[in-house]
Amino acid sequence: MAGGAASGGSAASDTYKEARHWLLMPSWLVLGFFVFAPVCVMVIYSFLTKEFRGGVIWEPTLAAYDQFFFDRGLFGDSDPTLQWTYIEIFWRSIWQAGLATIMSLLIGFPTAYFIATRPDGTRALWVFLITIPYWVNLLIRTVSMKFLLRDEGPMNDALLNIGLIGEPLQIINTNLAVQLGLFYSYLPFMVLPIYASIERYNFTMSEAAADLYATKFTTLRRIVLPAVKPGVIAGCILVFVPSLGAFLAPDLLGGAKNFMIGSLIEEQFKGNAGNWPFGAAASMILLSMVLVLLLIFAQQQRRAGAAT
């Protein structure tokens, strides 16, 4: 969904100038069919009347958005007040996804740095090793996490045996388990873009900084980080955005006790509520939030591009 799909090559040769629009047709068709059309369906559904037990009635209404923002009590007839329920759910999701992103960054950056500073021939092997666990389906990886973390699981057994803890750590069915799950699910999305940035980084600049008496930390902060910033930002977005809508980790690791956006939306389609317009409206609000985030990022990139 990230931008840049329609980047016209302005500097490209004029050889295909005439045919350019035709040559771009496949991309436009794919974008139209798989991105534009589904989003349109969602927009339209979010403004329709819900049908009891799933489905929609073709009468335009703002009821879905009203339900999102206004609370009318258990019986639906109190005076409307601001609806905190869904704001809380969104805030919780942002918080969880944010923490997972920070964890990924803290582990992912050193990992990427390590890989990028290996000798030429061995880097591909390290990248390959990073991706191995991700050949397995996400569901299976999440369930495996559950096995590892549970009270009577191998992690607690090992810690108990070493004597580090006196009784099992209660991690499963907590928010921490969700963050760990998200972190593990999306870690490569952090490592790979950062790796790509660091690999292009010219390490003689670090040497120059050291020659000018910069400490290692200063070099990292003032020379390396600014140079690899686009990779870091791309990695953060690639981890944050899917974490925001995730529902496997909250359901399986968090015990499904507290809705996240993804589970809230899923419930509208697959659950008892069967409220399709509300599900579509919640998706639209999520989509708008992500879009704003990406626009800010694009703006920054452009400004950074203009500065250099």
Partner: protein, 342 residues
Amino acid sequence: MKLLTSSAMALALLANTAAAEGELVIYHWFEYIPAELLEKFTAETGITVTMDTFDSNEAMLASLKAGGMGTYDVAVPTDYMVSIMAGEGLLDTIADGELANKGNIAPEWADPSFDPGRAHSIPYQWGSTSFAVNTDDYDGDINTTDLLFNPPAELSGKINMLDSQGEVLAMASIHMGIPQCSTDRDELQALNDMLQEAKTHWASFNSDTAREVLVSGDVSVGMIFDGFSAKAREDRASITYAFPTQGYVVWMDSVVLLNDAPNRDSAIAFMDFMLEPENIAAVSNYARYGLGVTGAEEYLDPELATLPESNPPETAGEGSFIAVCDEQTQAVYDQIWTNLKN
């Protein structure tokens, strides 16, 4: 997205089955029919079977309403969902005399409240929903719904609930002694408050892994279906199924004939096949649930007759089906569920 994928799936299926004779498309729960039985059906009738699976009644309804009609011939909803689907006009009527084996239906299941006269369905399996307790962790009386909704301190934080609105709210109503689909505001408010309080004692909501969380020791008490509990006991002997004195939920899954079935004749043949005592007994032997056909005893695994999970003790309360509420009442129950899951 959901719409798009379901309709794409429906299209793909249609392409496979369009107007072909001797085919049957079943929409079924996962892990609920032995593969050998389907092979036997194909061997006997020459009809090839395609099966799609779902993991909740509501997911099945959503998929059928999102373009799945006309794709499947039969589905296997639970009691309350049979009446909902009939009300939505999704079910075809089985004419008198169409089913050769209709007489095999056990008298107590021949005219159920959810499908009077069995106009659209035949019995598949039935059982109960209650909860199981790991008696290694708790040695008090287990036959009370207090263990779920007002647990003793030692069980607090060691309870798994099914992630299913119908079952949880029905069980909660039984616990409080109020009717399902109540319209009494005080009762509903009390139900909401009780659940909010009870939730502080719960570890998780999980349906798919209801058995596994008990076996692994993640929780000591877990809402569960009787057959699932019997399977859990095979893995961990201390897991005991409870029949609360306050009552519990009973259910029956039924094979229904869908409207616009592309292979209606195959569907009827399949229903007749599932009414043969030997065949439906094979399902019971596999799934560990009860059946609704007479004359199947000789084919049943003898162990099934004495399963503690399917033989309520004298003290057990009444079993009740999940009720179907009207739209206005359902909206309040939906709100209670959303409050609970937030």
